[in-house]
């Protein structure tokens, strides 16, 4: 009896969670290249504080000393296992002392920042924003946001 019970339970006391994580264009946001994969690209094109235009799904806000481009993106996280939630961290590949990069309200740097400590699985929208000071020289801005989803 004891032996049978141990055999039945063998391998089930430690559950391995298998995560699937993709980045998707939000219906209200900019169209991502590589949507539906874990490696997406967001291209704002040529943009300016005053006048001009921004891609569909992008909001431009002009402040007293800076201007901001923002857009929602979706993260789709699923799991095979028994995890009830996940933790999301994000960090920039390159340090940027001039512009401000945010995901939701969290300012990103080259150190990993927690965007959410506990979020249910499925599709969730996160707002990306890039703030550019008026004092910055015009030109190309480029960086990569590295996202890590960890099962809780």
């Amino acid at each position: 009896m004891l032996l049978m019970a141990m055999l039945l339970l063998s391998g089930r006391t430690s559950a391995q969670v298998i995560l699937s994580f993709t980045i998707i264009s939000d219906p209200s946001g900019i169209t991502l290249t590589g949507s539906g994969t874990p490696a997406a690209t967001m291209s704002f094109g040529a943009v300016q504080a005053f006048g001009g235009s921004v891609p569909s799904g992008v909001t431009k806000t002009v402040g007293a000393n800076s201007w901001t481009l923002s857009t929602p993106i979706d993260l789709h996280v699923t799991q095979l296992g028994i995890s009830a939630s996940y933790r999301l961290t994000a960090q920039l590949t390159l340090a940027d002392a001039q512009n401000t990069w945010k995901l939701n309200a969290v300012t990103l740097s080259t150190a990993a920042s927690t965007i959410t400590a506990s979020h249910g699985y499925g599709t969730a929208a996160y707002t990306f924003s890039l703030t550019i000071p008026f004092s910055a020289a015009a030109g190309l801005i480029s960086n990569t946001i590295n996202l890590v989803v960890t099962a809780n």
């Binding site: 980045i23 874990p38 690209t41 967001m42 943009v47 801005i141």
Partner: protein, 169 residues
Amino acid sequence: MGLVLAIAALAAPSTSATSATGTVAVTATTVASISLTFVTDGAGITLGGTGTAAATIAFGSVQAYGGSVPAGVTKVVTAPTNWSLSTPFDVDVQLANQTSSNYTLTAAIASADATNTWSLGATNLTTTPATLTSTGAYGSTPYTFKLTIPFSAAAGAISNTINFVATAN
């Protein structure tokens, strides 16, 4: 006893710290730009469209003698030649993503007016752009608009548009 311990382990399974990663590459090419907006001056007439680049000044029904003028408007009668309406308004010029210490501001009226005199500060306006400043400081600057109407002019509507151009130096 062994069975009890094994069941307890099933009831509280452990999960290993599993993670997945992704990347979002972001690019934008910023372009230098300049903004010119008109703002109601604290001592002037209330502009229609204040805070935008297309404002309106409406004096309403006015007359040389008697009557009234809107708040912030000064009427001066120079008998027997003419009378004028003047009011300050603010021109706000902002610059983004370009190095420039000042700007040049020009103004011109859209339609020629051989009867009345349109001026900004000491500059009389025509349909040819006149330079109001060649070293304007970025930010908000008050300008005094004045419309001078001769006594000899017939009564009626007076209408024109002043076109401004700010250029970063």
